[in-house]
Amino acid sequence: MIHSLFLVNASGDIFLEKHWKSVVSRSVCDYFFEAQERATEPENVPPVIPTPHHYLISVLRHRIYFVAVIQSEVPPLFVIEFLHRVVDTFQDYFGVCTEAAIKDNVVVVYELLEEMLDNGFPLATESNILKELIKPPTILRTMVNTITGSTNVGEQLPTGQLSVVPWRRTGVKYTNNEAYFDVVEEIDVIIDKSGSTITAEIQGVIDACVKLTGMPDLTLSFMNPRLLDDVSFHPCVRFKRWEAERILSFIPPDGNFRLLSYHVSSQNLVAIPVYVKHNITFREGSSQGRFDLTLGPKQTMGKGVEAVLVSSQLPRGVLNANLSASQGTYTFDPVTKMLTWDVGKINPQKLPSLKGSMSLQTGASKPDENPSINIQFKIQQMAISGLKVNRLDMYGEKYKPFKGIKYMTKAGKFQVRT
């Protein structure tokens, strides 16, 4: 399936290569570079590129292209999903997945890739199994290893590999037993010029950090499970139990994992937590444009809107923006024409605003489209859909775990057309 893997950085250098079958010359990447050149933006490189003898499937994460070389028919999503899993694993191991991190840990990367893929077919992709085979590098362990000569590589086949719960390693022990669940909802909105909502969707995930001794069996129930329209589970969740009772019953993996992602049915009206008043105009014939933007909270159930960040791609004709922000700071990049305004927290008494003028190229005609505004924000302690966890119970182990649930709402792709 996957023949070879090349890692290409933003400047177009191959900084790592790995072959699972016979060696494919790195010149095959020339086709990729060609496509990269043709694409104006890094994101515009097509994920699947045919070449005379091979097919290149690539993903772009953290400004690194992971280019897989394929020789014959294979579901492209299979490769894409695997590449993303590789990136997730690197991130899990090294904290970040940057070129520097990969170069520093090239041996671990190689060992990981060796375990994750055999003859191009995924072998072990569960992070719990991999961590038993190859322990993540830590400063302490590196020191111990250099002194004692022990290694990061496990000698036994991870028990998970053979069990019915491959995602959990055995013999987990903690002095503090804790289970944290984060309900994070993202709200995707398009608001049109007049302020009416064109489309609004809520997508949520429940991320968990479970550090429990032994083999706990958890159940998580919701107050209002009917809200969830479409769900996808971590493999640990017992599907039938969900079908029958709408209860999440599972033996959790050890550590961080995504338990569930869901979509809230679009029938429900979505409460939009912020509103935007905007007045962006370019006058014909003049080299000036007006820019006026005010944000305000709306339907937030008394919770504060934090970490607000407004960004907008201004038209190409704009030379500079001379604005004043009532709160926070703004930057305008004259090259990319990207205006960003870091607002911070919205104070309902004193609404943040950004006002001023834009100077346009003289002689240039009035841009025919107003820029659209993208907004990011966070609201703590609230799930915008109203989803509530009812209770979390643990069976199978005797101790009392510490349980915690956190809610958060974030802006997903929150776009205002002006």
Binding site: P46, P75, P76, L77, N119, D230, Q415
Partner: protein
């Protein structure tokens, strides 16, 4: 030095430079290296030294640096001899790095690589499965043709390894060997065939992958494993799922008939095939008209559906394409939601999913219409995502939603991304042609765009308008006039050419403007682009024909200009036109037809989706994504006209066949309807040992065959720990061996039991939360039982027919009974069963193992039990050849059979080798029935497992004897329960208690007076002693001195009432009221002991 030069030859100068830098970075000794080459040489030298040193840390360091070189794509092959020496090193990390190196360079250094082979051969015999597996991995990755026989041998051996992990590795090795030496195909197919039969979920994905690579055409190998694969699918790891689903899609297309009903046209070809099959089927079945889906076809659809909830996008896509290609038309839309969900994923995933949705949305608008808004474009999307979304929106447009879509398009047209704006204009054009209601609106909109400032937008609009006007039979001279006016402003060649073509084509509708345009063009002819010049010539020619009076001179002027143009195309065209239109003596008959040639009515261009022809490829494939046949693409065949023989999927006996089974097989061959029958009972009987064979008259064997036929028909449902089927098999064994009367009794009892069970479920679910899993598993049990009873009505009818032919009527009863509790996997399209199958066998066992055995704080109706439950020795490890077993009574009702006493057996392997196939064999006496635990496939050394079993002691303390079997040996064990364990607590109020006690007077009452140990006098301690001795429930009484306890016997449910009345200081009277007098006296004796002893 020679190594150095060879290195440079291979690596090239640039590589050497880089290596040199690497050297300065990593090795401190080379800091002063001025000459890059010497640094390089020195560096490799020190690597060699390090590798040859005695210190492991140095070796490891060297290997790490070498791996760094490999990762960078540098050549490090000259170190091969030094590296290969370390292949047998003890340090596992070093060894692994050596493996990495070896696999990378073995091909180049074949002779040296051979030195390492013996190490791997030795490692293949290692007791550690990880080492065996990795040895096989490396051995098979060394692409040296000379070791092909060794690899073949290793693969064959590993394919029958005990460890499923090693077997998985051998499946991978098959593909490697095949790519190295395709001549080994036949041998490899044998191994694949063997591995396909493997029941481990770990192996399934890999072996199917090997199958796809080596012999995708050998579909016959799948038949026998089809049902097993379907059933295992949920538990296979996600990557394997994708491969298996894709393979099964292909398989199903060759084996089943089309589920797409007539009238609903899906694809012309397929529809035709369907009609054919219809007529064929008529011969087979009497009523062929209503389409009957093959139960195996249904099984596949049902078992893949839960995978739509997978977190792996590739799995979801695989299921989606399976439904698209295999499901009946009305069921395909089940995948919609999940596909739309994938759009939230990474950009690359979006790209592929959108491509597939685009293809799907052409054929089935309805599927995605409700989710139209999910395809709205955001300014932050990548361009190719935007284009795909646009494509889908266009496909989805219909009369009802067109206004919304057009409004959305209006925003897109203004996008700063001009390529996208242009694509939007084309999309508007397509909407306009597809939906006649909006054609005029679109056209007007497009005309407005003509005054747009952006050239590309205008040009695209002109081109689209041109196409639209061509398709419009109505007159649009206004638009043409408008365009002619705009002509001066438009600079894009294509747009200018389009306008000129339009004016020429419809010159009769704009008789005044056309010559004027020509006049202008004549002026600017020389400065136009070629494509425009051609259209000017065209326009001139057309005008000459229609309006020669005004344009004759202009035309001649233009033709003259064209004659001397630099471009030969234009010169050619000019010459041709001149000959055609200007009559002279040389031009013959052709010029007479000039008008008909130039002004012929032209067919309108078709505006259609770019995804129109993509449906020739299977969805989700690379070929589909590229719209190009990728190498190795397997064509999805059309549905067969006639379904091939279904019976090929029935599973045959793998292990030695019992004689009686063979006879059954013969009779089966004679009957065509016996397709439901499987021979799986052969296995079953093997497991059962000899007990059945002792009573194996023809009757019993045939009845057992019939009972197992309702089982999924695939052996693994029995094997694979599915509770239901395990139970059913135990029941079938029971029923087949016992007399008719027994069976009758059984049945009655079971009916009662199932009632009791549902009651139990109710009461349990009312309990506190802490016994949640317990309650749920029992309710699941209950629901699956009811589901299968529903399915019984479906499947039963067919089977009844077949069985009633040859068998005495008596046999039917147990058979039906079995299916009542059986999770029937082959029930033909019974919708109720779909839920049940979702629950995979191993999940069930997982649930059982965790919720039953590990809940150590038992939950009972109003009863506290005390302390750690006493466990008893069942089998000592000395007598059990390393297998030791202990059992205890968890004091919970046994879920599967309330009349049984629940006990948990902890099996521990104290030997140094794994034990396999632990199960319960024969038991005695016959009056005792027991519910066997599921076979424990494998118990590793020092591991232990707790399993639940149930025994119906019939309310006697007679010991239950049974065989505890491993693969190699059998051990007779016996369980003698204390009488107190044969009870279940009952809650009674005090008045009820007294009333019941009143009924059980006289000979049903036994009592004794004792002197209690002083420490037991307090009421709390007293009741604790009683409750720990006997599984009873305490009745709340007003008195401190009188304690009452109530319970029922587990098997028959007879009431057992115990009263302890304290007198004076230490004296007490114990009274036991029950109609089981034997039990009463034994209970009394035990209670006396418990209270009297200190």
């Amino acid at each position: 030095m020679s190594t150095n030069t060879s290195y440079n030859d291979q690596g090239g100068a640039e590589a050497a430079v880089e290596v040199g830098q690497e050297g300065t970075l990593t090795s401190s000794g080379t800091g002063a290296g001025f000459g890059l080459f010497s640094t390089d040489f020195k560096k490799n030298d020190d690597l060699k030294e390090m590798l040859e040193s005695n210190k492991e840390s140095l070796k490891l360091e060297a290997m790490k640096r070498i791996v760094g070189l490999i990762a960078k794509g540098k050549n490090a092959s000259e170190l091969f001899p030094a590296v290969v020496k370390n292949v047998a090193n003890k340090n596992i990390e070093l060894k692994k790095l050596v493996y990495v190196y070896l696999v990378r360079y073995a091909e180049e250094q074949q002779d040296l690589a051979l030195l390492s082979i013996s190490t791997f051969q030795r490692a293949l015999k290692d007791p550690n499965q990880l080492i065996r597996a990795s040895a096989l991995r490396v051995l098979s990755s060394i692409r040296v043709p000379i070791i092909v026989p060794i690899m073949m041998l290793a693969i064959k051996e590993s394919a029958s390894d005990m460890s499923p992990y090693v077997r998985k590795t051998s499946a991978h090795a098959i593909q490697k060997l095949y790519s190295l030496d395709p001549d080994q195909r036949e041998h490899l197919i044998e191994v694949i065939e063997k591995l396909l039969k493997d029941k481990s979920t770990l192996v399934a994905g890999s072996v199917v992958m090997a199958f796809e690579e080596v012999c995708p055409d050998r579909i016959d190998l799948i038949h026998k494993n089809y049902r097993k694969l379907c059933n295992l699918l949920v538990d296979v790891e996600e990557w394997g799922q994708v491969v298996i689903i894709c393979m099964l899609t292909r398989y199903a297309r060759t084996q089943f008939t089309s589920p797409w009903q007539e009238g609903v046209s899906f694809d012309e070809n397929n529809e035709k095939a369907f009609y054919d099959s219809d007529s064929e089927e008529k011969r087979d079945r009497t009523e062929a008209k209503p389409y009957m889906m093959d139960p195996d076809h249904r099984l596949l659809l049902r078992n893949t559906k839960p995978l739509l909830q997978s977190r792996n996008t590739a799995v979801v896509m695989a299921v989606a394409q399976l439904y698209w290609h295999l499901a009946p038309t009305h069921e395909v839309s089940t995948v919609t939601k999940s596909l739309v969900r994938l759009l939230r994923s990474h950009r690359e995933v979006q790209y592929v999913v959108l491509q597939n949705i685009a293809t799907m949305s052409i054929q089935r608008k309805g599927m995605f219409e409700p989710y139209m808004k999910s395809f709205y474009v955001r300014s932050t999307d990548a361009t190719h995502i935007k284009t795909l979304k646009l494509e889908i929106l266009t496909n989805l447009a219909n009369e009802a939603n067109i206004s919304t879509i057009l409004r959305e398009f209006q925003t897109y047209v203004k996008s700063q991304d001009k390529a996208f704006a242009a694509a939007t204009i084309q999309a508007i054009g397509r909407c306009a042609t597809n939906i006649s209601e909006v054609t005029d609106t679109c056209l007007n909109g497009l005309v407005l765009l003509l005054s747009n400032r952006d050239e590309t937008v205008v040009a695209e609009s002109v081109v689209v308008i041109k196409k639209l006007l061509q398709t419009q039979p109505t007159q649009h001279s206004d638009i043409i006039k408008h365009m002619a006016k705009l002509f001066d402003k438009i600079t894009v060649a294509m747009a200018r050419a389009s306008i000129l073509w339009l004016i020429g084509e419809y010159c009769e509708r704009v008789p005044k403007i056309a010559p004027d345009v020509l006049r202008k063009m004549a002026k600017s002819f020389t400065s136009e682009e070629d494509i425009v010049k051609l259209q000017i010539v065209n326009l001139a020619a057309k005008l000459y024909l229609t309006n020669s009076k005004q344009t004759k001179l202009l035309t001649q002027y233009i033709l003259n200009l064209g004659k001397y143009d630099q471009n030969y195309d234009i010169r050619d065209r000019t010459r041709f036109i001149r000959q055609l239109i200007v009559p002279n003596e040389k031009s013959g008959a052709l010029s007479r037809y000039a008008r008909r040639i130039l002004l012929a009515p032209k067919p309108a261009p078709l505006l259609q989706s770019a995804f129109k022809d993509r449906d020739r490829f299977q969805l989700g494939t690379l070929s589909h994504s590229l719209n190009l046949k990728a190498s190795g693409y397997q064509e999805l065949s059309d549905w067969p006209a006639v379904a091939p023989d279904q019976s090929v999927r029935n599973v045959e006996v793998i292990e030695p066949v019992h004689e009686t089974v063979a006879s059954v097989k013969k009779s089966k061959a004679a009957k065509s309807e016996d397709k439901f029958y499987s021979d799986s009972e052969g296995e079953q009987e093997d497991r059962k040992g000899s007990r059945n064979s002792s009573s194996s008259s023809n009757d019993s064997s045939s009845s057992s065959s019939s009972s197992s036929s309702e089982g999924s028909g695939s052996e693994e449902s029995e094997e694979e720990t599915s509770d239901e089927s395990a139970k059913s098999s135990s029941q079938s064994e029971k029923s087949s061996s016992e007399s008719e009367a027994d069976q009758k009794k059984e049945k009655n009892k079971k009916n009662a039991n199932s009632k009791a069970k549902s009651k139990a479920v109710d009461s349990e679910s009312e309990e506190e939360n802490n016994n949640g899993p317990m309650a749920s598993s029992s309710s699941e049990e209950g629901s699956s039982a009811s589901e299968s009873s529903a399915s019984d009505s479906d499947s039963g009818t067919e089977q009844k027919k077949s069985s009633s032919k040859s068998k005495p009527k008596v046999q039917e009863r147990p058979r039906k009974e079995v299916s009542l509790l059986d999770l029937d996997d082959v029930t033909p399209s019974a919708p109720t069963t779909s839920k049940a199958s979702v629950y995979s066998p191993s999940l069930l066992s997982d649930l059982e193992g965790l919720s039953l055995s590990s809940v150590s704080s038992p939950m009972q109706v109003n009863v506290q039990t005390f302390g750690p439950v006493k466990s008893h020795e069942l089998l000592h490890h000395m007598s059990g050849k390393g297998l030791s077993a202990r059992y205890h009574f968890p004091r919970q009702p046994f879920l599967y059979q309330p009349s049984m006493v629940h006990l948990q057996v902890t099996l521990t392997n104290t030997s140094d080798h794994p034990l396999e196939g632990l199960h319960v064999g024969d038991h005695s006496p016959a009056s005792i029935t027991l519910h066997r635990f599921n076979t424990v496939d494998r118990l590793e050394p020092q591991a232990s497992v707790t399993v639940s079993m149930g025994i119906d002691f019939n309310d006697s303390t007679q010991a239950a004897n049974f065989q505890l079997c491993t693969k190699e040996a059998e051990f007779s064990v016996s369980i003698q329960p204390a009488v107190g364990e044969l009870l279940l607590p009952t809650s009674l109020t005090q008045p009820d208690f007294e009333k019941e006690q009143g009924k059980l007077q006289g000979m049903n009452e036994t009592s004794a007076t004792i002197t209690m140990a002083a420490s037991h006098c307090s009421s709390a301690v007293l009741s604790k002693r009683v409750l720990s001795m006997a599984h009873l429930g305490e009745v709340i009484t007003g008195h401190d001195s009188i304690h009452r306890f109530a319970g029922r016997t587990v098997s028959s449910g007879a009431l057992v009432l115990v009263t302890v009345e304290q007198r004076e200081a230490t004296g007490a009277t114990i009274t036991v009221n029950t109609d089981k007098t034997v039990m009463a006296s034994m209970l009394l004796r035990d209670l006396k002991q418990a209270l009297a002893s200190a």
